[in-house]
């Protein structure tokens, strides 16, 4: 089953093409990675998938529904969640509240009923807290539950962002460089976490620079360069693909000269 289908996607900023005629399909319950050199357009792609940018052309079908034209919160309500390359934590809130925000789509109460504390609110609050604890435990963050987000170290925040995204119970999780800036131990933990996420039934779309991690966790990999598709396949296929070797090594050779 295909969960996400991207066709003919293009985006340019003031005449500079960031993504050109990109096509790919993400199968359900897999880890699908997008790799490419810096500036290849990976984050731009994520921003289009999550509704932050509007593409110039193409279509993005998620569970056969068109995502283009939907605002980020509408995309999120269909079951797409994401993490960010530059941490986007709610530093003005506690760890628990950060994750509770993740439960936003699974709860219903409005500002007016909350103001009056109508009876349903208590139930909903308890439910949200239970879900949040679950997500925190899933990401092995239960020890930080009472702390303020601003007091946590970087590695923990990276996982907290994932916990927050998971609390929304998404079917697709977009992860933008989850291992960037992590040390070796943390990277291993992150790899295990990504596996657990996939195993729990959530499809993962991953952008990552750590090739060891990518090759290890991915089911399929898409390589893009200058905004267009260079290759696609399983990790083994990608590693053997001459175009990929050329793009990556060629680039390095040029640097060396």
């Amino acid at each position: 089953m295909t969960l996400l289908e991207v066709e003919g996607l293009s985006k340019s900023f003031g005449g500079v093409t960031a993504i050109a005629d990109l096509c790919f399909k993400v199968p359900e319950q897999q880890v699908y990675s997008v790799i490419g050199p810096n500036g290849a357009g990976k984050t731009t792609l994520f921003n289009m998938l999550s509704g932050i940018y509007t593409p110039n052309e193409g279509s993005i079908k998620f569970q056969n529904r068109e995502l283009i034209g939907r605002l980020p919160h509408q995309v999120a309500s269909l079951g797409v969640s994401r993490t960010f390359q530059n941490l986007q934590m709610f530093f003005n809130m506690s760890v628990l509240d950060n994750v509770k925000v993740g439960c936003h789509l699974r709860t219903r109460s409005r500002i007016w009923s909350a103001a009056l504390r109508l009876p349903g609110i208590f139930r909903e609050e308890r439910q949200a807290e239970a879900w949040s604890r679950e997500a925190l435990e899933f990401c092995r963050l239960e020890e930080f539950i009472g702390q303020e987000a601003s007091a946590l170290p970087y590695g923990v925040l990276k996982r907290l962002e994932i916990a927050r995204a998971l609390a929304a119970k998404p079917s697709l999780l977009l992860m933008d460089e989850p291992a960037a800036g992590l040390n070796d131990t943390e990277t291993v933990e992150m790899r295990q976490l990504i596996r657990r996420i996939c195993a729990s039934g959530v499809t993962v779309l991953l952008v990552e620079h750590n090739m060891g991690l990518v090759m290890d966790v991915s089911d399929r990999i898409l390589v893009i360069d200058y905004g267009s598709r260079l290759a696609e396949g399983t990790p083994t296929e990608i590693q053997r693909n001459p175009k990929v070797i050329q793009a990556y090594l060629g680039g390095e050779v040029q640097y060396a000269v």
Binding site: S50, G51, I52, L71, P72, H73, A76, S77, S81, R82, F84, Q88, M89, F90, F91, N92, M93, D97, K100, V101, G102, C103, H104, L105, T107, R108, S109, R110, I111, A114, A115, L116, R117, I121, E124, E125, A128, R164, A165, A168
Partner: protein, 326 residues
């Protein structure tokens, strides 16, 4: 009910004051002004402290409420309660109309737009003489009566304003500790992340803007009936800035901080009158110094000072085993 702990303390203070200091000018007159300011500060804090949307035009909604009550009761003989509701309805529609275009703006541009809105409303109050009485204002506004209990003394007004303040504090606390309240704080923390968590940030901003305006309108109506006289300079941009100062001084994103800020800024000039012409300078200096040394606001600042002090004491007595806390 932990999040309401502060509320119970506040209730105790509000109830105790008239008994501790019966018939005292500061309790019956200044405290009523402080209470109204606190209501406004709490509402502004929802918008500014929690949702992170600065507004330098909050006095405009306060003014719309006050003048709705004043005009409808004096010129059309409406029942004050009906006038209050009508004022809130008017405020609601005005706030709703301007919310979308204004809240698209960020930072200083938002500050400017709200400031402009406040000034425009004030100019309308000054120029719209036929309805508003112009700069001389509008008098003979009837007072409120609650099922025959006529609010005609300072003490009674203290009771009314005190109750409304407590009510507004509960509302604010309830909201903050709910799904919607988290949405507010989330969009303050990171608008894009909030969107990705499914929060409709435009709708949320609009909702809190309208809510804050509604509370301000209510406060305005109460002000109008309490003073029995309104004039435009009570709703000038200076007052908007004063309200922002109350919120920041007490500590942003803290309902009780807003109350504290309002109380301090209302009482401070009362205490400073003895300095006569030095008053302005001293007031400015105090404001500056408090913000330089307690940039988080008084409530947070004090809490931190107390925590540090406790920590130091603990360290001094506990010695070795306490080292990990630092």
């Amino acid at each position: 009910m932990r999040y309401l702990r502060g509320f119970f303390i506040l209730t105790a203070i509000v109830v105790a004051m008239p008994f501790l200091f019966p018939d005292n000018y500061y309790v019956t007159v200044v405290a009523v002004a402080a209470g109204l300011n606190a209501i406004l500060a709490v509402s502004l804090n929802l918008l500014m402290g929690y949702a992170g949307q600065i507004s330098l035009g909050h006095a405009a909604f306060f003014g719309i409420g006050a003048y709705s009550s004043a005009i409808l009761t004096t010129r059309f003989g409406w029942n004050p309660w009906l006038a209050i509701v009508a004022g809130m309805a008017l405020t609601c529609s005005v706030a709703f109309l301007v919310a979308r275009p204004i809240l698209r703006l960020k930072g200083h541009y938002l500050a400017m737009a709200t400031l402009g809105l406040g000034i425009i409303v004030n100019i309308l109050l000054v120029q719209g003489e036929r309805w508003t009485g112009g700069p001389d204002g509008l008098g003979d506004i009837p007072t409120l009566s609650i099922f025959g209990w006529i609010v005609d003394s300072d003490l009674r007004w203290y009771i009314v304003i005190g109750s409304v303040l407590l009510l507004v504090v509960v509302l604010a606390q309830n909201i903050i500790n709910s799904r919607s309240g988290r949405a507010l704080r989330a969009l303050h923390g990171s608008e894009v992340a909030a969107e990705m968590m499914g929060i409709n940030t435009t709708a949320t901003k609009t909702a809190v803007f309208v809510l804050a305006a509604l509370i301000a309108s209510l406060a305005g109506s109460l002000f109008s009936h309490q003073q029995t006289f309104v004039s435009p300079e009570s709703f000038s941009f200076f007052f908007s800035i004063e309200l922002v100062t109350m919120v920041v001084l007490g500590g942003m994103a803290s309902t009780y901080g807003a109350v504290l800020g309002a109380v301090i800024l209302t009482f401070l000039p009362e205490l400073l009158v003895v300095f006569e012409e030095f008053e302005v300078m001293i007031f400015g200096a105090i404001l500056m110094l408090m913000m330089i040394f307690l940039p988080q606001g008084l409530l947070v600042g004090f809490n931190e000072q107390i925590r540090k002090w406790l920590l130091q004491r603990a360290r001094a007595s506990g010695g070795e085993q306490r080292r990990d806390i630092a």
